[in-house]
Symmetry: C2
Subunit: 361 residues, 2 copies
Amino acid sequence: MTDALTIAIDAMSGDEGPGVVVEGAEMSRVRHPEAKFVFVGDQSRIEPLLAAHTDLQSVSQVEHAPNIVAMDEKPARALKNRRGTSMWESINCVREGRAQAIVSAGNTGALMAMARYQLKTIPGVDRPAIAGIWPTIRGESIVLDVGANVGSTDRQLVTFAIMGEACARFLFGLERPSVGLLNIGIEDLKGTENVKGAAQTLVEADLPIRFHGFVEGNDIGAGTVDVVVTDGFTGNVALKTAEGTARQISHYLESAIRRSFLARIGYLLAHGAFRTLRSKMDPRHMNGGVFLGLNELVIKSHGGTDALGFASALDVAIDMATAKLPRKIEEDIRHIYGDDISVIDEIANGSNGQEKEAAVS
Amino acid sequence: MTDALTIAIDAMSGDEGPGVVVEGAEMSRVRHPEAKFVFVGDQSRIEPLLAAHTDLQSVSQVEHAPNIVAMDEKPARALKNRRGTSMWESINCVREGRAQAIVSAGNTGALMAMARYQLKTIPGVDRPAIAGIWPTIRGESIVLDVGANVGSTDRQLVTFAIMGEACARFLFGLERPSVGLLNIGIEDLKGTENVKGAAQTLVEADLPIRFHGFVEGNDIGAGTVDVVVTDGFTGNVALKTAEGTARQISHYLESAIRRSFLARIGYLLAHGAFRTLRSKMDPRHMNGGVFLGLNELVIKSHGGTDALGFASALDVAIDMATAKLPRKIEEDIRHIYGDDISVIDEIANGSNGQEKEAAVS
């Protein structure tokens, strides 16, 4: 039995607008005949695009939302002007149960602020995290948090480990994904107090998690573990440093090739190989950051994505919604923390006001 | 007038031993006829190597130190067993004024612990930092701290900015190097309290520093600024993530080339280009991490370096010693903090015991 699934789509999001979004949905529909879509945005722009894809049209609805959140809009401002934006209204579809996940290629900060505001965190989770899907030598790994927070307590890092592990189980189909804590050395005595505290809990608390121990920056690309846990500051710097290094090497490669005639001939012959390489280094393959820790599923697609990238974000949303990921995380958290959850919720509620400030600033 | 300069060399350090060290010194001697060397280590192994290079021998002394600090030795243990090690005795040469800088390819943690113990920090500096020389699209940048500390206050970050700026001035010959603070966004409101506090001081305190503002992870490889300031945890993760990404791309490139016959032919033709690329990605070009904030100069060469890499670390040591970098940093710190220095020294002395624990654990 496959339940019908509906994905809400922020159709006005991303640099390329609804054309790319509709093309992406068409690609994803072919792979997921069980899925339905709600396109939220400017009806007059979406409907003509859907009319060109009758199969997609037959499993889709359009919900009119005339306003757009700008890519550079401050989260606080976006939250203030939320009514009638495609972002807010598409999240609302999920809140009201008319969809099981929402995908947006829009402004990350605004999306997180609006999603927290409408969907709230899972009981026991005081901070949501953004999980990135990182290509590695061995395949793919989940890295979290890549930028929802600026600092994390040891308890938050443990929660990230629980959420990331659940995510890897369903996204990669692994029974027991391995989890590592990002640190500046693999010896027990190194690292910040928060990292050491989180490691101690993961070792001692007898959690149903295959904890590998500490990993270092170079272990991410090597694929040493399936899930890399870190605070949002370090994770974001690591992600952008890796992107920068890939761009730097592309630059070196191009200028090395331009330098001689033989190199250019060689490049032409090896063209297929370079295309493979470029595709491996393509940020679209990291498309689909998942917001973990909210009561419903929110998937962030890269702002500059094309239809292929948007389709891959939709695929992630459909897989995660089929697995009912937020409910699994809720069960895991309850199983691990038990009655202790109320304490966390107090902290979460007590600091929600403050955190909202941080998230939307 | 060029003063005679003496560089103390931990001759037993590094994976390859004194052979590589002596070869490296010979290369550096040719470029720096004003330099003299003190080789510290096992006399019976160093002297025969020097005998093969009579020009080098004529500007060198050998100081016998029979013991070696192992690469995997814990800093606390190394410090306990310091007497008679080539590392300790070579630092001692600098402490006693018989050399103006010391270069070692040994155990980083042990080197930092021994150097702090013998040389102490510059007045006003409570934490030394390790400055890495990072290849960028535009040339080279200084990144600090890349691993001496696990966390940094805003005041420490400001001190890193002052020290990194002085380092870039003399190492790259720049009159006004630009300085950026590593953050997860370039907007003023993002980041940790420490990073925001450091930015505020760098903007408001009217320091003689060309402060660019915040930079992100991808700006490091792009060479957006000459000096990137960050705490030791983030800097170390960024450095190792960049190394891991470079290794990952090499791996993709190799497997892409192996995949087809044409690609292999192309690779052979473009061989020179690939050699250039590999040399750009070679960690030896990042050789020569500088310990900043100590009263004397300590240069760390990569443990797995060859003679070329060791020579480049010696060149850095000679340039920095000629510029009298620690004295310049001392002047800069005094100029900026003035009488306020005593407060910092109190903090530094008060927490020295604790910090030593951290550094040597």
